[in-house]
Symmetry: C2
DNA sequence: ACTAACCCTGGTTGATTACTAGGTTTAGTA
DNA sequence: TACTAAACCTAGTAATCAACCAGGGTTAGT
């Protein structure tokens, strides 16, 4: 059972909620059209069961999962695994991909020496999207990411901490 | 006089602290080698004065600013504006650029259907770095960002919310 | 001395994250 | 018709943290 660490606010933070959601969605995708129970997902991925339940509910309300109650019930994908990106999972759970002090990047307004800072934040969001809106569940389950994404992981120092 | 909104945890969040820090650093860079007082920075950029003071202190301890006390005192850059990237400012204030549930991306460990999820998070961090480790204070003040960054801001839909 | 500036310790308020508890409803099976 | 397995729902909680503010101490020019 994990350590259930609490979040810290920093530049990019993948919350436990999102991390668990993506892992569960991968496991559901991997089961094909057979429904998978919340408990099976929790134990196969090592996730806190009750927390996962509420996440699965959110994903259903977001239109990403279909559920069936009762015995022989469980969850399955609402559409094909290749039609669900990581961004599709993040946004209904955690909100927009990028914000600056609570504002969308395009809504910021800078003056004086920092006048061009807005362009930097827009570029940050754009670079994020070039990964999260491109990688699908099918890609992750198959272990074959798009080449533009693979290129990022094979860059010099991509795996070192800084 | 801003609204002083509180932060929400989501994928990319530029905190008020970082936003203020970058703006202040831009204004200091813009002043050349003349020292600028905290009060002048606060009023020229519209930042909360006492909060800014503590941020400037952090930046000094991080080796990015040099300060002088007393009358005719103030802050100036510790090194050339073209040698200070946005990532240099973020890291001492908010910690590492990317974390997953409190872990660095390369320290995560996934099994089963989600085994390749780690690559996605590493790619996300890598794409972030390709902006934040490349843009310098000199670029922002001059309004001339590197072409690889400009390319991101001119992509289709780069300025729309989603 | 006076004063303008940085420096330092500490506190507050409200929000959020990462969960848990416990019951209600639905739907197959004996 | 009971039984049971599963989804569903409404709460609630502890710890953490962001985004500030107050107030005094220290340094250095005039």
């Amino acid at each position: 059972m994990g350590t259930y660490a609490h979040g810290r606010l920093l530049d990019v933070y993948i919350s436990a909620k999102v991390d668990y959601a993506v892992r569960a969605m991968c496991a559901v995708a991997d089961a094909g059209d057979r429904p998978v129970t919340a408990e099976a997902l929790a134990s196969s991925q090592g996730l806190p069961p009750k927390f996962l339940e509420s996440i699965l509910n959110d994903l259903r309300r977001a239109g990403l999962l279909r559920s069936q109650r009762g015995a022989e019930g469980g969850y399955r994908l609402a559409r094909a695994a290749k039609e669900i990106t990581v961004a599709d999972i993040i946004r209904p759970l955690d909100g927009p991909l990028a914000e600056v002090r609570g504002l969308r990047p395009e809504a910021t307004n800078y003056e004086g020496a920092a006048a061009h800072l807005q362009d930097v934040w827009v570029a940050v969001r754009s670079s994020l999207r070039s990964v999260l809106e491109v990688v699908t569940l099918a890609d992750i389950v198959a272990g074959k990411l798009p080449t533009s994404v693979v290129r990022l992981t094979t860059k010099a120092d991509a795996w070192v901490s800084r």
